[in-house]
């Protein structure tokens, strides 16, 4: 037993065949990944004894991670060598028997070593048996029993929080069974794995330990030209880009599908690209086959800056350290730059042939996790909201420039017979920006016009794009030295342009000129007009005597008109 003071991660290998050679590959792979490791490996086919006996050297070793490796030929030798004497029900029973045994072993392991993470390697079976076409086609068939065993192992691991499946069956399929095994190593050393398979198992084990230790990369940063699409933004027309169902475009399209799936698995996406912003955004927002759109990216840097500068900015914007990022760029120059300047970023080695992008992303283990957390599921939304708030703050400086650029002109006229029907129409139709929602017939408007205690104004708005016509109505009445606002409304066409402030500033100036003390307004809530609930207080009105009543003191306060609206008035028609 090694010293407990060591900071090295304790990893145990248990299995149905000789593990000593594999242990050397595993040690080398941990070393290559700069992870300090202390290894234990069980004897040839000693895994049952190691797991059953509470005083076994395995339990005394007290590992943090255990890989249990059983080869299909070791678990079910009869299936491979002489399946015919076995009846269908014998095979089913044998599989269930072995599964009960493995369930017991896994439960014991998890109970006795509560801090250990148990990785159960799926059993690898040959793709072809001596049965030939009798396999799958006759009662002698064994392939479905192999599959059932692995499905059973997965059920066991799902029932135990600290047990996980390491899919060696899938790894062997990817490599090919003929390469996975090396009969010479079996006959000379009782090892079930080839040189290539041992390298692969070592790689998968180290990557899995990394995933279980939470070393997952959180964000994939992508280039655009010849990465997300084939061709050059701004150089090739939209329809000339390779992206979509035709020819090579499919390689980029399918690559994007996988990237979008990574997002569903909790990986943030970002763009870091050298392009004219407008050229690239046109593709992202309007190419019909683009799967990844603006809202899929938590951060976007499209400019002519150094990509490492952009990477630092993205890191700042998302609040993630460099070791949270993986970077995918087809340009060897940019990759070299990133590797030399920001070595903590995982710069993916991208093949020169885009048809290999799909397998490249499939082979990335940097995004592995054995279980999705709520954090993973909500990460994108969280970062998106954060980015939106920041961009609103940034653009607050330019909102005034935006208003100024509109060149708005407001014409405020007193109500008249000629305007009565338009005013009536506005009171009938305006639901949102309407403080009191009083509906008036044209005849009632005419009565107000004839009543000396009421005043009525209509606001017309135009900007550099043309005239909006009559879009605002205000009705006020005099009472006890105050001006009360009976009606104040704006057509929804002009909401959000500060027109209300210009209109009220004009009315308050008129009120002051005529000697009024206060301007008093009311907000009568309806299901539709909550957008103006805070209008009066936002312009400096104070709460008045009645609920929902707001007063502006004309002697001590002044309501300024926004400088970007040119206000003219006519005293009479």
């Amino acid at each position: 037993m090694k010293s407990q003071e060591s900071a090295a991660i304790r990893v145990a290998l248990l299995g149905s065949f000789t593990l000593e050679l594999l242990a050397r590959y595993v040690a080398r792979e941990f070393r290559n990944q700069q992870i300090d490791v202390d290894l234990y490996f069980g004897g040839y086919s000693q895994y049952q004894q190691d797991l059953l006996d509470p005083n076994s050297p395995y339990y005394r070793y007290n590992p943090a991670y255990t890989l249990l490796l059983v080869d299909g030929l070791d678990v079910f030798p009869a299936f491979y060598f002489e399946p015919s004497p076995l009846a269908e029900r014998d095979k089913t029973a044998l599989v269930q028997e072995r599964l009960s045994e493995f369930r017991q072993l896994a439960e014991l392991c998890c109970a006795r070593l509560p801090k250990n993470q148990l990785l159960i390697g799926q059993a690898v079976f040959p793709g072809r048996t001596i049965l030939g076409p009798l396999d799958w086609n006759s009662a002698d068939s064994v392939q479905e029993h192999f599959a059932e065993f692995n499905a059973g192992l997965a059920r066991i691991s799902r029932d135990l929080p600290n047990a996980h499946i390491l899919d060696l069956r899938g790894a062997a399929l990817e490599m090919g069974y003929a390469r996975w095994r090396d009969s010479r190593l079996w006959y000379l050393a009782r090892c079930r794995l080839s040189h290539a398979a041992m390298e692969e198992v070592a790689h998968l084990l180290v990557a899995s330990v990394g995933a279980l230790r939470g070393k997952r990369r959180k964000c994939l940063v992508l280039d655009l030209d010849n990465t997300l699409w084939g061709g050059i933004a701004g150089n090739d027309a939209l329809e000339e880009l390779h992206l979509g169902p035709e020819g090579m475009g499919l390689a980029f399209y399918e690559f994007q599908r996988l990237i979008r799936q990574l997002k569903a698995q909790g990986i943030l996406l970002a763009v870091n690209s050298k392009n004219n912003f407008a050229d690239a955004m046109e593709i992202i927002e309007s190419h019909p086959c683009m799967l990844l759109r603006r809202e899929d990216f938590a951060a976007i840097r499209i400019n002519w800056s150094d990509k490492t500068t952009n990477m630092r900015e993205i890191s700042g914007e998302l609040g993630l350290g460099m070791d949270s990022f993986a970077y995918f760029d087809d340009s060897p120059f940019e990759r070299n730059l990133m590797r030399s300047q920001l070595p903590e970023v995982l710069t993916v080695e991208v093949p020169t042939d885009p048809t290999q992008y799909v397998e490249t992303v499939l082979n990335l283990d940097a995004f592995w996790t054995f279980a999705l957390t709520d954090d993973d599921r909500t990460r994108h939304r969280k970062y998106q909201l954060r980015a939106q708030r920041e961009s609103m703050q940034k653009s607050a400086r330019s909102i005034e420039e935006f208003y100024s650029s509109l060149q708005m002109k407001a014409l405020i006229r007193p109500g008249s017979e000629a305007l009565a029907s338009r005013v009536s129409q506005l009171t009938q139709r305006t639901n949102q920006f309407n403080l009191t929602t009083k509906r008036y017939e044209p005849g009632q408007i005419r009565q107000l016009l004839a009543d000396g205690s009421y005043r009525l104004w209509v606001l017309e708005l135009s900007d550099r794009f043309g005239s909006e016509g009559s879009v605002g109505v205000a009705v006020v009445f005099e009472r006890d030295g105050d001006w009360g606002i009976d009606t104040f409304l704006l057509s929804c066409r002009v909401i959000g342009r500060t027109v209300e402030q210009a209109f009220l500033a004009y009315i308050s100036a008129e009120a002051k000129r005529s000697g009024a003390r206060r301007l008093v307004g009311r907000y009568l809530p309806t299901p539709r007009n909550s957008c103006v609930a805070e209008l009066y207080p936002s312009l400096g009105f104070h709460p008045a005597a009645q609920p929902n009543e707001w007063a502006f003191d004309l002697n001590s306060q002044e309501l300024a008109s926004p400088p970007w609206i040119e206000v003219t008035s006519r005293t009479s028609e």
């Binding site: 000593e20 050679l21 050397r24 009969s183 010479r184 190593l185 006959y187 000379l188 050393a189 040189h195």
Partner: protein
């Protein structure tokens, strides 16, 4: 002797390259045990793209024997590696 072979042997058995002579055999090197031997064989196979016959593997217990067997698998002109049927 072949420089590439010398480098592989030095790396796998953790030996200085000047100690690697044809006469050097497994009994003289601590790390050249049965597993070290397999590691060495697999590494040579990977680097040269060859495959030793299973029956030959346990017999090639000196640098000279390894080199000699490698010559039968890689022709002297080095243009083409001949693989044993697997």
């Amino acid at each position: 002797m072949d420089e590439k072979l010398r480098k592989i042997i030095g790396r796998v058995l953790a030996l200085p390259e000047n100690e690697i002579r044809p006469e050097l055999n497994a009994a003289q090197v601590e790390r050249w045990d049965s597993l070290g031997h397999l590691e060495l064989i697999l590494e040579i196979e990977r680097e040269f793209g060859v495959r030793y016959r299973a029956a030959d593997i346990p017999r090639l217990k000196s640098v000279g024997e390894l080199q000699q067997a490698l010559r039968t698998l890689v022709p002297p002109d080095g243009t083409k590696s001949v693989r044993q049927p697997s």
